[in-house]
Amino acid sequence: MYVLGISCYYHDASAALLKDGLTVAAAEEERFTRKKHDVSFPINSINYCLKSQNIDVKDIDYIGFYEKPILKFERVLYQHLECFPKSYRTFLSKLPSWFNEKLRIVKTIRKELGYKKDVLFIQHHLAHAASAFLVSPFKEAAILTVDGVGEWTTTSYGFGKENNINLIKEIRFPHSIGLLYSTVTAYLGFSVNNSEYKVMGLAPYGDMNRKTNPYYRKLLKVVDIKNDGSYRFDMSYFKYHYTNKMPSKKLCELFDGPVSKAGAEMEKRHKDIAAALQLVTEDILTKILNHVHKETKSENIVMAGGVALNSVFNGKILSSTPFKKIWIHPNSSDGGTSLGVSSYIYNTILGKKRNYIMKDAYLGPSFSDEEIQKFLDANKIKYSIFKNKEELVNKTAKIIYDNNVVGWFHGRLEWGPRALGARSILANPCNPNAKEILNEKVKHREKFRPFAPVVCDDDALKYFDCDNPIPEPTDFMLMVYPIISKWQKKIPSVTHIDGSGRLQTIRKNQNPLYYNLIKEFGRLAGMPILINTSFNIRGEPIVCTPQDAYKCMMGTGIDYLVIGKFLIKREDNPKDMWDSEKYAND
């Protein structure tokens, strides 16, 4: 039995395919169209899912959609009714897309795919909850979903047991932690639904002391937080319920200045605001989790929704709440809801036994050595061939150890926003200049943003002050932990200003080649840790195909590309195919 899940028309359109309950393929549309956070109907992702199993759309038994469009439309209409006449411009700009595509999703599915069987709809936060619980290792767990907004819900909690999910309580729009985070992101001059993680990265540069940060106290005027973590905003500080602009004039006055321009230099005030936002978010989430534990009595917590990507807070959950175990979906933002709805249909609606635990996130397209060689030869690209995997590992480790930047392209593309060793850029974390080299030559990103370390699971506790045993979300780069102080100076390129690192742990059974590479690098450098950053430049999705990878390398300062069994040296090939600086944007 095949079940296909689809999410689209908000941000991060995606598709996921289940075969007899096993997730066999999943990918975001942006990876194929090369438009970051592409919202369009995910025809390329669907085609990839079908092709990966050599099946036709006729073989699909059910298609599931990740939200209830009419319920969402009701909320949008209610916003306009409440906010008349201030919402006039938004009404003109947003309404056409509702009639042209969002309310016509069944027609689109039938027309684009030629699909004639059943299309099922579940609520947005139920899709998040399913993505978190049904593919987790737990038979029972408390569930927390937190994002911007679904139909009406912005935050919900409940519990899951075996095949069933019950979401008990909710916070409703317009009160939303996700939208608070996005509003401050917009205030600081970053793009909404894209750059929230940059604000999280900026926060440690500000004053993280609740007693001395002036904006922390100011931000508490904006939000009323109850002891059970429930919250409500003073909406006079916001405009997102009636315009596309999020902070109101009153919020700008509270923050002592106007909205920052994109790319503007961050002053101390901005850093303190980012810190205050992170502190308030942590206050709310800690209270919610304590309340959820009290209500559900479970030792396990699963989380999804965009706010569950707040890896700084995630790393504190087990030490600051009574929960003992945690699991977070690697694609916990809206992209992951296609996998959530397909799992919900198979396990809950149809009542089939849960037989899949998500142990890794390698669910996207892969390319054989023959396909890669065909591409290289057709484009007259100079390359050498590794004799075997041992030589590949040894030579690549030496290249990285010699302070070269390597594009690493192996196996199936990652599911979710993080590069986890299939489409990664790797570098030597012991090189004090690595951060600057990567930022200036390759990633073109803000100087304050740290790079992430990857370490084998059996070495992690030696270098990082992690929870023990190491929680599985660390495999998906979803937890930030302190780097043990004596190592911080040895790996400056991955040590953030507060001494933390957003580490990825890799287990041998997940990706043996990547695991062995890190171990071999450790043998050479004395530190089995690499810099792992996503294989893209700023503003571009992670590379998908060999062509994307080659173009990215040739337009940047990446020195070598290790792709399948092939090694390509940038210097051996003609000058830049494209100017990556031109393409780098927010």
């Binding site: 469009p69 009714l81 409440e82 008349f84 709809f121 919900s156 008990i168 309580k169 909406m235």
Partner: protein, 82 residues
């Protein structure tokens, strides 16, 4: 060749013109819907103190959690978009 380019130019110009007209007509129609439909309903609702969004802080409340109780439903409910 020159005529072909000229015709292509005419065609794309016509398309742009058509799109502009459609945008103007759409904006006019949507404006009518907004000011008559949405505006009328909104004014009546405000007069009768009906609110569509919960915008007010209610500090005396002990909790802002609201009942959701979302769990497995009858199969037919999943066919509905609401």
């Amino acid at each position: 060749m020159g005529i072909k380019i000229f015709l292509i130019g005419i065609k794309s110009g016509q398309k742009r013109f058509g799109e502009s007209i459609a945008a103007v007509v759409n904006s006019l129609l949507l404006s009518l819907v907004y000011f008559i439909g949405v505006g009328g309903t909104s004014i009546i609702a405000k007069l009768s103190r009906k609110h569509f969004l919960d915008l007010k802080l209610e500090e005396p409340r002990k909790s802002y959690w609201e009942e959701l109780n979302l769990s497995k439903e009858e199969m037919e409910k999943y066919y509905k978009q609401f």
